[in-house]
Amino acid sequence: MTLLSLQSLSVHRGRKTVLSDINLTIREGEVVGLVGPNGAGKTTLMRAALGLIPADGQSSIAALAPRMRGRAAAWMPQSREIAWPVTVETIIRLGRTPHLLGGQKIQAEDQAAVDRAIAQMGLDTFRNRPATQLSGGEQARVLIARSLAQEAPLLISDEPTAGLDPAHQIAAMESFSKAAGQGRGVLVSLHDLGLAARHCTRLIVLHNGAVVADDLPQVALTTEIVKAVFGITAFSEVTDKGFVFQPLEVVS
């Protein structure tokens, strides 16, 4: 089943075209990595797909009524904002917002979703700690748990692994894979191409606001594309442990 479909999506800022003619779909069971250098338009693509910024063309989620978007997709922005020293559990409960009717209190099934997300991100010991007192990496895990608790069919996450240690980077990607295994779909932007190559089922390479590759990681990350888009060389090989990608040098 298709969870997100973008058809000739374009975004203009003033006269500048930030995104041009983006066509892509995300189906259930997929962890799709969105990669590209700084300023390629990754965040803009995600926000336009969610209907947070005006765009030309079609996005199946932006086409929904604003109230229903939160049930179709969970969005984890790159800025890890936690404005008040509320407890970790309170933050994660906010993920249930789209499921509550006006004035409705959190129900048993909502609490169950919150508990599942807490368990999945290994946050049980932090449950009653003020979220603002946690380290940046811990806060990132809390916010991932928040978006998991939303239990929307599609999860869109903007650089969720930035600032995490290797174990938690892998754990975060594995939690996305697990969500995909449960029949959800994930669109995640990443700077770490090695992580993207290893954990994503598909990669979309974005360059200057256009999709230059949309395929299996080992097909998308060709020597030419890596050189043209990222300006680097890399070692890559399909091994018995899966596809391995290691950036090496900057191309002068």
């Binding site: 604003p66 049930r71 969005w75 800025s79 309170t90 933050i91 917002t97």
Partner: protein, 339 residues
């Protein structure tokens, strides 16, 4: 286990609600009973309820009841709008006066006093103050734009406050009548003394209407804890939220200033003081700050009557005297917590 913790949290909120609620009730009754004309508690309340007892009934019904009612409503409304403003801007230093409405309402009132309209008709002052508040909120919406950022709102508010303050100073500066100038200065200090039921009827629709608007914001403000983008993606209508904050705040602050003058610090201090008791949740803070604000104004208004009963101490002076040190203490505590 989580359910058990949930109940514990509920329990704490219930204790706070009960505590603040009974404090407001006690202070409300205290406000009715304390004043220059000494009468027994029984006689006073009897006169209030039955209207029997000659002058005492008049005192209770025409002087003390409006004063206590205005105290509860204005205090609650200021506390509520402070909590809403801080939640919306995600800044504990935000104040309902920030959007420039109190300044422009004060300008309207000052013009009413200066032109002598206030002396001609009793309702001219609150009416002109409300008019000033309306002008202020329209200007804010115009300057900040209906979809602008919170920074644009703050800057527009500062600009309007500064301009209204400058015009108020200009009126004082050019005032040929020292009595009017004197009256303006005292009015601006804020007071609930000598207000009638008419003032209650003028202010009530705005205070209650604005209050109801602001009270609906709980879920949106909670979601805003995660930032505007995340909140919007969870189905919160930011455009409506922002408009509700501005209009609700303008209604309650405009009406408060119109009937009671400028009363500061309630909207700033109360949310800050009570935030820790509700687990810092901006939605829960709305009702807590409402009760806390009502208690603070009622207590200050009782203090005004007890400390120097014959000198007409102004309410706004007391709230600032109480509020400023409290605020300094909160800043100290915040700094210690490293926030």
């Amino acid at each position: 286990m989580p359910m058990c913790r949930g109940r514990l949290l509920m329990g704490r909120s219930a204790v706070l609600a009960l505590g603040l609620g009974s404090l407001v009730c006690v202070l409300f009754v205290g406000s009715l009973l304390i004043g220059p004309s000494s009468a027994s508690v029984g006689d006073s309340l009897n006169a209030l309820v039955t209207g029997q007892g000659g002058p005492l009934a008049t005192v209770m019904r025409e002087i003390r009841l409006p004063r206590a009612l205005l105290g509860v409503m204005i205090g609650g409304a200021l506390g509520l709008s402070g909590a809403a403003m801080q939640g919306y801007l995600r800044n504990p230093l935000a104040d309902p006066g920030l959007i420039g409405v109190s300044g422009s309402a004060a300008l309207g009132a000052v013009l009413a006093i200066q032109t002598g309209l206030a002396a001609l008709a009793a309702l001219a002052l609150p009416a002109m103050a409300l008019g000033g508040a309306l002008m202020g909120v329209l200007l804010v919406l115009l300057l900040a734009g209906p979809r602008g950022t919170s920074l644009a709102l703050i800057l527009a508010g500062i600009a309007i406050s500064a301009f209204a303050a400058a015009l108020t100073s200009l009126v004082l500066n050019l005032s040929p009548n020292p009595y009017a100038a004197n009256e303006i200065v005292f009015w601006m200090m804020g007071s609930l003394a000598d207000r009638s039921m008419t003032h209650v009827w003028i202010a009530m629709p705005f205070l209650l209407g604005g209050g109801v608007l602001l009270a609906t914001l709980g879920r949106g403000l909670d979601a805003l804890t995660l930032g505007e983008d995340a909140a919007e993606a969870m189905g919160i209508n930011l455009f409506r939220l922002r408009l509700t904050v501005i209009i609700g705040t303008a209604a309650v602050v405009g009406a408060s200033t119109a009937v009671a003058g400028a009363i500061g610090f309630v909207g700033l201090v109360m949310p800050h003081l009570l935030r820790g008791f509700v687990g810092a949740r901006p939605g829960a803070l709305l009702w807590a700050a409402t009760l806390g604000g009502a208690a603070m104004i009622l207590a200050s208004d009782i203090l005004v009557r007890l400390v120097v009963p014959d000198r007409d101490l102004k309410l706004g002076v007391v709230t600032a005297l109480v509020g400023a040190p409290l605020f300094l203490h909160l800043i100290y505590r915040t700094r210690r917590e490293g926030l």
